[in-house]
Symmetry: C2
Subunit: 201 residues, 2 copies
DNA sequence: CGTACTTTTGAATCGCATCAAATCTGGTGG
DNA sequence: CCACCAGATTTGATGCGATTCAAAAGTACG
């Protein structure tokens, strides 16, 4: 079975009947997708851009629960009547909206999709755990190595994004990332060819 | 429905028939649970201690994919024949071992458990995403605030661990955590009473 | 060709890690 | 009950690495 990871691959795993009921949603930067407390009408799949799930903390500070640049958001809301957080686009974004009611029904009745859905969730769990470990590393170099080792194959990873966006994923400033890459290149521990990152030792 | 989060609550969500087939496993620090490439015989639930999933990177460096101090490990292995990583106890640990074959069968045939399993996975996903966001924050104070806001209720969190262990969760040294807590207490933005953390502004 | 964005480099600053050591705390055995 | 021990908690001094602010150079695209 092929690996399911990108948003479009996930979209293809969804039964045609349900996919036919989906709407395409486009949001400008800053536009709100749903508000905390609102009725759960849809489950969303982020195709491009960036959507943030947030809650207001004490003193009005905004707490980000999740930043999604691809994949499902609000899946957990399938189990509840109202949203536990708000969502807005932090960049121009494209999404697919699936009606929650029908999604639940398909999940309950289509055992094949049920199985695939579990697979999607399990994969997401594994990916997130690796990301947590990566973010727990203290230096830029360690995070870079960890990324290439876990996201790549045999010490080689092909970036599907700009280095600047990669820096955000690694929770580094782009300056810190560029400097670390150069240092590693100079030391000979990494070869950088365009978007191809190759660990050498 | 009550929130399922601790390892024991998860254990209780498992059908009695399957639970009856589980074994208790105790590991000393350093003991190996399974090796990469080995046949997937069991799925494990970490009750106490700490288990790490690791792979060898290039040059022999060990890459940690996950550190679990409670909850399932190797669920993703349910879909594969052999383990994609190795696992060992990094502290004296207690686990429950469920036979993978039977686990798969129950998951396929017991629709109630199937539903609950999805719920467990979805909850894990949500928790991990919040943790990723937290680890992406740059300062000790921000991570502390984020933890209390997301793991607590109305700005109040009761720690179920020592502050030292909390520091590990926040990916900080215990010294950095202690200092940040004191600074926040002095500034009046946090009240610390034993294990009770209360944000005030 | 111009504009927007990424990539790159530099200098100053800040916060955390590290190493060291003292104090406190809960639990154990004499 | 008290001495003792292991671990948690706390404080101090120092250094390193990332952030921040600034600016220049490169690049893709209309």
């Amino acid at each position: 079975m092929p690996t399911i990871s990108t948003a479009l691959e996930i979209a293809n795993a969804i039964p045609a009947g349900l996919r036919a009921q989906s709407r395409h949603v486009e949001l400008e930067a800053g536009e709100i997708l749903f508000r905390i407390g609102g009725k759960v009408c849809n489950v969303y799949l982020v195709i491009s851009g960036e959507v943030r799930l947030v809650r207001n903390g004490l003193g009005g500070a905004e707490i980000t629960l999740q930043r999604s640049r691809g994949g499902f958001i609000a899946e957990a809301s399938l189990e509840s009547k109202s949203y536990h957080c708000s969502a807005f686009a932090s960049a121009p974004s494209k999404l697919m909206a699936f009606p929650a009611k029908e999604f639940r029904e398909v999940l309950a009745n289509d055992s094949e999709f049920c199985c695939k859905w579990q697979s999607i969730l399990a994969r997401e769990v594994r990916k997130l755990r690796a990301q947590c470990e990566r973010l727990g590393l203290r230096t830029a170099e360690e995070r870079i190595r960890h990324y290439i080792e876990t996201e790549g194959v045999h010490g080689v990873a092909e970036l599907s994004m700009t280095k600047k966006a990669w820096a955000t994923d690694l929770s580094l400033t782009h300056e810190a990332l560029y400097r670390a890459l150069k240092k590693m290149s100079n030391e000979g521990s990494l070869r950088v060819v365009g978007c191809r990152m190759e660990l050498s030792k």
